[in-house]
Structures are given as structure tokens and as C-alpha cells.
Symmetry: C2
Subunit: 239 residues, 2 copies
DNA sequence: TCGAGCCTTTGCGGTAGCGCAAAGAACGGC
DNA sequence: GCCGTTCTTTGCGCTACCGCAAAGGCTCGA
């Protein structure tokens, strides 16, 4: 049962796209399975990079912490996504911490196994390049947002990205499919939980979102898009 | 002459590290050479990704521009560095603009050529993974800085990074080896040229830097390091 | 069912850093 | 050597956003 599920996940994972079924079974054969409960840590920042996982079930959060304890969220990882790219790219230690935020099942390989697999299958190395390229580009975008946009736009962009990545259609709108506190949103948008709370309250007033405790539902995606890409309305000297 | 120089550059480039001399000559054989004057554009944002360059001589700047014209600097590229990684990673268009800021000589390949080269040399694909991994990690770091640090620290970090990447020892200290305006520093640190100017003036007062028109020299690296990593002195309730 | 923890909301200053403006200063071309 | 252009400096007000504080609400476990 799990065997079947895992194979389907691997088939669809960006990293193994285009790999023949037989090869995929071999790759699966050298993997191991590991379960983590919500809250458990998969990798800790600065730990040696010794393994790589693909999420089968559940959800993970990648964070980075400053020496003085401030934290930012790098990304969330859902089924099919790769945790521990560092192990691919040869860095000695993990740049951040990865935590399970739901009970999660991961499919893992040792660094040596992954290295061998990539040596044998050029397509996988190519997929890794595409994967890292995409993440790099996403980071460029976020950096640009953080540099040039005001808080409200940044929060809007963050929520839009999350709905695209983990949105679930419901009767009331698109719901982000995992628990997401105001603090979490703040750590993704480069602001504080207070500001996020105020902003969401305002949006709820306007009927753009509906939200509860660690729960966000977007009811008017169009309105949020407008906010996200609003040419900063504060410059009065604009045509 | 140029042939020799180029081969030496290719040998040392992160992308071709560990490739046999003979193979490198073949790779060089299918490359072309292109010169750009200071100010010329190599790739324009959203253009199709059709080629990849390694810098032989000169310096490039990678920027990204928002729809409303605001710009940020993603990175500077010196000799041996790779411009146009998008062509490696299969995205259709360039995420940003690359401009020559000095007269520059580039060694280039078409997308097809690079694809073939990577297919034939697994080591190069592996190098590409490491290269993208490193850039991804650098972006994570910058994102964290931008999210958690105040302007002064961010400017300090930016300058430290630039001295590491393109610092030149001089009698007065470490000089950043290319013209760098206040505006440029602002676009790398997520602030305005005014704030950069004020900050540099203050540092000059304290003898930490010496700077002129589009020129920055760090005279007291240690002091700058302290500023960069100062635990935000504004929280009064810290042990 | 109750209580202890989280999470969230909201009010109220305070301030870091922005935006504007205007005056230098350093090039570089002619 | 002169002049236009580009870059830099500095003053001054303003405001978006933070930081603190305190008061609700949800949950979940006992």
C-alpha cells in the first residue's frame, strides 16, 4: 500500500521526472522510509548534510534562524517536494532547519546513495538543476518584493504564493491547506505578527479573506491580486 | 593569447572544475567570444534564454526590475563567473537583466551546445548543481538579512560581501574593485541612496571606510564586521 | 467542565528611515 | 578650461511600521 503510494509520489516528483519505471523501482529500493510527528525536526541548521528526503505525506517547514534568535521561513514543502537539497549540492551543512508541521512520511536516501543515483541517471542531475534554478528564481522574486514593496503588498504576495502552492478549494473560497499562524505569515513576509493581524483584520472587513486561528481562506482572489500588484499608490507624481 | 587566457579562465571556472584538459579544449572549441562595452546589455529581463556566458575579462551586473521601474541588484559577476544560468536550468526567459559595467570579454555557448556538453560530462552537471546551490543559499542569507536587520547592518553586510568577492588590497585598505555608486549599494541593501550616503558619511567620520565618487575602500574591516553582526542594540531587555 | 496555554486583536506612542529639495563636487567631453 | 551631466551630501518633515502592553478567544488536555 505504502509502496504503491511512494512509487506514485516518486514518479511525480520534480527530481525524478522522466525516469524509467524500472530505474525508479531501483531508486526506491535503496531508499528508506521515515515518519515524523508534527513538530519534530528533520534537519537542524548547521547539522551535517547527510541525507535527502522526498515528502510522501504531510508538510514541512524550512526556516533559518539568526544568531540572536530571529527566524524567517524559507518555504513550506508538501508531498512530492524535496527536502535537503544541500545534500545534492555538496554543501557540508544544512543552511536552515526543517520541521514537520503535520505528521509526515518521508522517503529518504543517504548522501552516498543520492550521489550514486545521480551519477547513473543524467536526467536526475538535470532535474536537480531545474529544481534549484526554480528555487533560486523564487528567492530572487522574494528579495525583490521585500526590497521594493510595502508590507501590505508583501503579505498579499505571500498569501497568493501559498494559495498557489497549497490552496484547497472550499465552499467559502481557497483555503491554505495547513495551519498558518499570523506569526508564520510575518516570518514569510518580513514583518511582525501585529502588522499581519491588523492587515488581515482589514481585509476580512472588506470581505477579501476569511480567517480563523491558524487558518486563512481567500474569498476574493482578484482583490488580493490587485493589492499585491498595486503600483505604490503613495507616489503622487505618477501619470 | 586570448586563447590561452580563455582556457585558463575556463579551467578555473566553477562550472568546469575537474574537467580534463582535452575535454576543456573541445568545450572551448564550440564556444564563441563576444565583447561588450561598459553599459551594454547582455541579456534583457524576459528575453528568451538562448545562451550562457563565462566572464573572461571585465565585470557584469545582474538586476531585476519591477513593472513600475524599481530596480534591485541581484549580484555582480567577475572573471570566471557564469552569466545566464537560466539557460542551464531550462527556464524559458531570463529572470533579470545583465549589463556590462566594465568593458568585458565573454565566452559563450548556445543553449543547445551547453545542453550537449552537460549530457556528455556528468561532472559539469554536478558543478552546475553546486553552483546553483551556492547561489540559492546566498539568496536565503540575503533574504534573512533583509527581513531581520536594520539598514546599517544590511549595508555593512553588503559591503563585506563585495570586498570578499571583489576586494583589492591597497595601501589605504581593501578597495572594491569596480565603480559602485551609492545608488548601487542601496539597490543591493534594500534601501535608498540617501540612507546609504548618510551611513557612509558617518562611517567615514569614524575612519571605518574611505570613499569617493563610485568608489568604496574599507579601512577597518573589523569595525565593519562588528557593525554587521551587532545584536540589534535597540532591544533594551537583553542579557 | 474547567483551566492553562497559545493565538489573536487592538490601542497607543515612538522612531527608523523614506521622500523631497536643493546645493555642492567630481568627472568627462569638447 | 569650460560646461553639462552625473553623483553625492545634507537638512527637514513625515509616515509606515514597529514595539509594547493588555485584553480577549480558541483549543485541548485533564
Amino acid at each position: 500500500m505504502e509502496y504503491q503510494t511512494d512509487l506514485i509520489i516518486l514518479e511525480r516528483t520534480e527530481l525524478f521526472r522522466g525516469v524509467a519505471a524500472q530505474a525508479l523501482r531501483e531508486i526506491h529500493a535503496v531508499s528508506y522510509r521515515k515518519r515524523f510527528s508534527a513538530g519534530e525536526v528533520i534537519f537542524r541548521q548547521d547539522d551535517a548534510a547527510a541525507s535527502l528526503y522526498v515528502v510522501s505525506v504531510g508538510r514541512l517547514r524550512a526556516t533559518q534562524t539568526t544568531p540572536d534568535g530571529q527566524q524567517i521561513i524559507i518555504r513550506y514543502l508538501g508531498p512530492g517536494e524535496v527536502a535537503g537539497y544541500t545534500t545534492l549540492s555538496g554543501a557540508a551543512t544544512h543552511p536552515g532547519t526543517i520541521t514537520a508541521i503535520d505528521d509526515s512520511h518521508l522517503i529518504g536516501w543517504s548522501a552516498a546513495a543520492i550521489k550514486q543515483i545521480m551519477g547513473e541517471h543524467a536526467a536526475i542531475a538535470m532535474n536537480a538543476i531545474m529544481l534549484l534554478g526554480a528555487r533560486y528564481r523564487e528567492m530572487q522574486l522574494r528579495l525583490r518584493e521585500l526590497s521594493t514593496e510595502r508590507v501590505e503588498q508583501r503579505i498579499a504576495h505571500t498569501i497568493l504564493r501559498l494559495t498557489a502552492q497549497a490552496g484547497r478549494r472550499t465552499a467559502r473560497g481557497i483555503e491554505i491547506a495547513f495551519p498558518l499562524s499570523r506569526q508564520d505569515l510575518a516570518e514569510m513576509s518580513g514583518t511582525t505578527l501585529h502588522t499581519v493581524s491588523r492587515t488581515l483584520s482589514a481585509w476580512e472587513e472588506e470581505g477579501i479573506v476569511a480567517c480563523g486561528r491558524r487558518r486563512v481562506i481567500v474569498t476574493r482572489l482578484d482583490a488580493l491580486t490587485v493589492i499585491a500588484s498595486a503600483t505604490s499608490s503613495l507616489s503622487p507624481n505618477r501619470p
